[in-house]
Each structure stands twice: as C-alpha cells, then as structure tokens.
Symmetry: C2
Subunit: 495 residues, 2 copies
Amino acid sequence: MPPAHAYAELVHRHGRLYRIRHAMAMLAWDRATLMPPGGVGARAAAEAELQLLARELRADPLVGEWLDAAAGEPLGDWEAANLREMRRDWLDARAVPARVVERRVIATASCELGWRRQRPANDWRAYLPAFREVVAICREEAGHLGDALGCSRYDALLQRFEPGINAARVAATFDELVSWLPALIATARSRGDTLPPLGTVAVDVQRQLARTLAARLGFDFDHGRLDESAHPFTGGVAEDVRITTRFSEEALLQGINSTIHETGHARYVAGLPPAWREQPVGAARSFGVHESQSLGLEMQLARTPAFCELLSSLLIDAVGERPAFAADALYARMTRVQPGAIRVHADEPSYPLHVIARFRIERALIEGDIAAADVPAMWDEQMARLLDLDTRGNHRDGCLQDIHWSKGAFGYFPSYTLGAIYAAQLFAALKSELGELDGCIRSGGFESIFAWLGARVWAQGSRFETDELLRRATGSALDAAPYRAHLLARYGHQA
Amino acid sequence: MPPAHAYAELVHRHGRLYRIRHAMAMLAWDRATLMPPGGVGARAAAEAELQLLARELRADPLVGEWLDAAAGEPLGDWEAANLREMRRDWLDARAVPARVVERRVIATASCELGWRRQRPANDWRAYLPAFREVVAICREEAGHLGDALGCSRYDALLQRFEPGINAARVAATFDELVSWLPALIATARSRGDTLPPLGTVAVDVQRQLARTLAARLGFDFDHGRLDESAHPFTGGVAEDVRITTRFSEEALLQGINSTIHETGHARYVAGLPPAWREQPVGAARSFGVHESQSLGLEMQLARTPAFCELLSSLLIDAVGERPAFAADALYARMTRVQPGAIRVHADEPSYPLHVIARFRIERALIEGDIAAADVPAMWDEQMARLLDLDTRGNHRDGCLQDIHWSKGAFGYFPSYTLGAIYAAQLFAALKSELGELDGCIRSGGFESIFAWLGARVWAQGSRFETDELLRRATGSALDAAPYRAHLLARYGHQA
C-alpha cells in the first residue's frame, strides 16, 4: 500500500540527509584546517560512519516505494524537479553493493596513504599495486552504476559530477579546444615579459587583504569563515560557508587568486534557493556549474584591467608602493602564459590542456582500454602532444601530481574545464545584458553582476538540467564558442 | 531466536555510537569556539539530527534482545562490566518516549534563548513561563526514567551524572559539609590580605603561557588543541581532545586556572583505556570522577606553594618581574577567601556551598516540593543561610546566573562537589603512597603523580562503580573526611 504522502516522506528523509551532510562537511573542514595530526584515524572512522548512515537512509527500500508513489501525486515545478533529483540520488545509492563501497573505502585510503610518501619519492613502482586495486574497484563500481543508469562505466561516473553529460560530448568539446588552444598558447608565450618582482609580503598582511577582498566580493562573514589549509577549498553549508586559502610570503598572488576563486564557490553555495535548502533541488547543479562560479569570479571578473586597478589600490594601502603593484603590472603578471608540468600552477589557457589529458587517460582507464600500469606512458604522450612537455620519468610532477585518482575520483576532472566554458558563456551573456563590466568593477560595486548570477544561476539550484539552466541564462546549451572568444580577446592580441 | 554472538553485536553497535558521538563532540566544539553567528540555526538542527540518530541506534529493540542473550554468554571481567554499562545506556534510551524527548528539545532551546536576554535584563518574570515548561517536561522525563530504574524522579536524573548515587546520600554528605564549612570560611575571610596588584598581561603572552602550562601538565598537542571560548570546557574525543580557556588582560589567573582545570579533564579523557575506547566501559566513570581529575590538577596539585614557585618562574620569564608574581604572593592570591554571589568566581571553600544550594533547590523542584515560581525565594533563603549573602531582587547574579537549568540539566550540580571530595580522597591516598608532592612539583616532573592517577583512575574507565573505583584507589568509598582535612590544612590555619 503506497503511503498517503510519499513526497512529504521523501522531503523529510532528505532533510535528515542534509543535516547529516552538515556534520560531514564540518568534520572534513576541521580535518583539513586545524585537526591535530593524532586525530586522523578516529576522524576517518567517524566520517566513514556518517557516510554509512547516510547511505542507509538513501538506499532504504522505503525510499523506492515513496518515489514510485510520489510520481502519481500532483506536484508543482520545483517539487517535480526535486523528485527527479531524489530519484537520481536513489539510483546512485542503490546501484553499488555495500561490499563494493566498503572495498572502495579501504582501497582508496590505502592508495592515498601510499601516495603521500610515493609522490615525493617519485616512486611509481611502489605506488602501482595500490593504484591497480583502486582502478579495479572503481571499474567495478562504475559497472554497477552503468547497469543502473543504462550507460558505459565512465559515462556513469560522469553523472556524479556532471549529471546529464556523457563522455562522447565531453570528448567532442575538448577535441575542439585542442584544435586551436596550443597555437594560441604558442603565440602568447612567445611574448616573454620581464616583470618587476612582486617581492615578499608578510602573511599577516595577506591574511587581512584576503578578508578585505572576500568581503568586497560579497562573502558574508556572519555566515562563514575564511581559514587556511594546504589545498584551498570551499566547505561547510549554505548557512555557514567555510572557505580556505593558503599564504606564502613569496607567493602573494596565490593567496589572492585562491581567495577570489573560493569566494566564487561560496557565493554560489550561499545563494542557492533558501526555500529548498535541505532538498536535492536546492543543491548546486553540478561540479562544473560550481566551478563556473569560482572561475567566473577568478578569471572573468577579477583577471581584468579594471579589477587589477582595485587590487592595486588595496595592495598599495596594505603594503606600500611597489612597481609590481601598478595595475598594468599586476594584469600582465596575472595573464602571463608560461606552460609547465603542474596543473594547479597552470596559466589560464594551459589549464584546459592539463584537464583534457587527464580526461582522456581516466576514460581509457575506466573503460578498460588501458591498464593501470599504462598510465605513465599515456601521460607522457598526452603532455608532449598537448603541452609540448617532456615529462618522462618525472612521475612526481607527472601522473602522481594530483590526489584525485588515488581517492578514486574518476570523472571529476572534466568539470574544471566545463566550468571554465560555462563561465565564459555566462559572462558573455551577462555583459551583453549589463554592458561591459569595467565601470562597476572600477567602483568596486559588483551588485549588478552578483544580482545577475544570483537570479540566473544561484537561485535556480538544481531546478533545471545543466543545459536548460545555461539555455535560460545565456540562450545556449553547452557551447565553447564564448570561451574561445574570451581567450582570444585576452591572449590572442599578445602575438 | 537469540543471535549467535549477541555481545559482539552490542560491541559493534556501540562502536557506531562512539563514532557518531565523535561527530557530535566536534560540532559542539566548533559551535562554541569559532562558528560564525549566522550558523547557529543550521548547527542546532544538525546536532539534533545526530542526537536522534544516536537515540534510534541506542533504543533499537534489537539491542534489548542482544542484552538478554549476552547475559548468557561467557564474558571476562571487562566484558561483563561493559555489558552492565550497555544495559544502563539501554534503560536510559528506552525509558523516555520520543515525544517527551522532542518536547524537551523545544522547551530547553526556547528557555535558553530567553535566558540569554532575560538574565542581563534581570527579568525573572519574563523568564518564568519558558522555565515553567522546562521544569514540567524535565519532571515528566524524570518520572519515566524513575519508573524504568525504580527510583524517585531526582534520583533518576542523578544517574545520568553520578551512576549509583542517590539524593539521600548526596544530602547527607552535603549536610555534613554545611556543619563546618561556613565557620571555616568566616575564619579564613577575616584575614583580609592586601596583595600587590597583578597588573595586566597581554592576551598573546597569556596564550603562550597557557600552552606552556598545559604541555608541562602533559597535554598532548598531537592529540588535541587548546582554543578559546566564552566558557572553558573540554570536548572532542580521546584521540583528539579539545580544551578551551578564556583570557582577559585584567584576569591573568582566570586563564591560568582554567587551563590547568581543563588539562585535568583532558588527561582523564586521553588516559581512558585505549583497548575499550569505543565502548561504554571505556568511558569516563561519572561527571564527578571527571571533575575530580580537573579539580585534582587545579586545587590539589597546582594550588600549592610548590606549584606557585613553578608558576612564578614561568610568569617572570614570560612577562618580567612584578611583586605579585612572587610565589608567596601568587599562593596568597590563589587561596584568598572572599565569598560572593557568583559560583564560577567562588573561592575553593565557598564553592561547595553554591553547589549545595543548587542541589537543594533542584531536588525540591524536580520532586515537586516547590514550583518553578518558588525558585527565587528558595535561592535567597539558601544564599543567606549558607553564604550569608543578601541576593534578594538580584536574579541576574542569583538564580539566573547559571545556564544549567535553562538547558534542563537537573542533577548535574552535585557532581562539582562530589568531584572535589573524590579529588581530596585520591590525593590523600596518592600522597600517602608517594610522599608529599612538593619535590616533584618543584622540579616540574609530575610523572609519578600522573602515573598514579593514570593507573588508579584513568585506565579503569567505567570498569567499576564509582564507590568501588574509589575503594580500590583510596581504601574508602565516598568519604568527605579527606576533603575536610584538605580544606582545614589549607584555610584553617589562617585564623
């Protein structure tokens, strides 16, 4: 007998899950920012326990009955979209047997632990056995997911990050980028600027500057914190967003850029529809859309001559006059093209090529076209072809540089570049409606920009599939043309 | 059909609960130390959700079946003690209907919220309606607990803090204190020292000093943190103990004493038996035993001429020479007797009288001998009788001064003074075995003291009932004679 109010039961269940995820988010934040080293084992166990509790609530057979019954209930637009997202979550939770989930936890924990030693030691041979096990279990997991969703293994993994997309479309989009990006990079890098040195800036000064910048970009310190961690990230919940950055005396722009980037993520989280906060339809649309908001702030909004003027005045106020702090010197430094082996240090036009290499490798790996042991060779081949780099033998700065695969996060990488493409689409549309942004950037008043993003993206949550969200905001589904135009405008003239 | 390994099922269940409590402890710590103000609503909901999840696991009917079946399994001493504590937990979880738990959450949240405004405003009349509801629901809860345990309402509440004790025994113990404490205080206060002013000390300097002190007392910063909060507390888990203190430029000794106090709690938590860490038998024996460890460090160990010599040298190193930093001046200040209205500022011999007044009032309130509206009158009467204070009309510094009752924490107060009594018993026994402590305190080597406490108290967890724990450690069950001897030795000679 179907329950009388199946949809209401589902809403209640997802409220519980939201609150459990609040706890999970805060434990993860604490672990990355200030947990003492001796707490690591107990914390891993506590986080795994919450994960298990959440899985039990998500995969509960009752949820399946409620989903079927709710399909016959009269629902409004948002409710229907919520139901669609609930079904997505249910399929994901049910598809993978518990024993696979457990084996995956053990395999990835072991591989990640090894990676922390083996990466610095450049020791691929020692890394391989644990990685082979991660690949095996992730293939198995992806197979179960694919069976449930009716798609290939890698396509199934993509759904966790970019629901609705598939590998063929990602490949076509990325191949098109590869047809023109390397030439653009070759032209831009040939400029060879010599810029005045930035010099060192005390971490305390940078910390204050980061807070000022985040506040200028609308970060709400009553509903969030800015802290420090080895790798910047955005965590927490909409009511209490936790962003982190990192500071080094010698790397002023790293702290500034990561603060801007994470503030973009934070604005999205805080701007999600409050009425749907605890529900799947109130969550961020996808990892790519999330990245479009961080890259929107970092690359579209802040990496501009007008923003560099604002930044210049903030820096001069905080640190004093230096030639490198002139707005044009800052802009030249931020748009310098110097391809290198490390993704997280890559300049704007090189970055997608790093992502594309990883996409090709992980797709082949998960689909079974290559073995775990083949990764270094394919890595070297892709790096040579896409970025003209010789990475042979340097695993540390090669295929071991990222933690993602050790954690079993296959299918994540494409979101970085899809986000950059979405950001270009959104900002092109935004500028065509609001006019060029220089005026409001120069005055530090970003309200109209944030109001546009807030209405078109943040407040929409997961109401629409990504393509529909983009269509309503920009007139087009996924389309790399504005991204190309953006990069050409910024880097093409440097020839 | 009973399960094949019922005890093993119970162990597994309590492992899950330990890990959920890890999450709860960290959320509570975060809330009190660094959560932004806007996060309060979402955090309360997340903490309540974990509480509910834990309750579902504790009150699961399966647990009752396992308990019955496990009683017939062959178990060692520790396992049998574990089973005894598991049954205690089960009775507590099952006794109170879910609707009472829910009504209690709402009533106490509302009362606590009101208290935060009404206490500063000295507004008892505005406070009373919400407090009346808290008293009503706590009486109902206590009635259910009493039915399950076969005891009176207030006795039932005491079990949550001091398992095994009852109100009659607490009252007899406290009445005996009342027969000699006021005279001791009257004598000690008549001394009227004039001490050199401490002066102000920058918070940064105090912060460093607190870390040094905690480390000297064996706090392990690899498995814990020292932070700041409005009210000092010890939280976290054994693997990652979070203690907090508070600093004020004008109140140097407050930061020092609370650091020592919380370090005592932390040592107990970290010293609980590692092999039983996730199990009920591995938990702290009672709130009173917990307090015996914090007061053991603060009052027995640190409030001595020998420790004041160490403190004096640390202060002079950190701040420079001041007359008030001389060891004898520090000791005189720490042992000054100046009774006042506020419990948390009370001197050592006055403190139990504050507790006794609260015990008498809350016992009468829960047993139904007085109504919520009668609290101020009984407060004034007790304060006049026990401490010779006129508190009439000053609710802010009277019955509204503590948060405990607003949160529904009835039955907690006696543990403070039971802890002071246990601490005196333990340190009397410790000194009779190890000799006077001055030598090892003067050299800053506390190892033999901590080894004794570690073996007799910390490593015993909840293996024994409190009386048996005390008997094995000191030769006697609860006994206030060593406490009287301690206070007389420290304060009696001042006449």
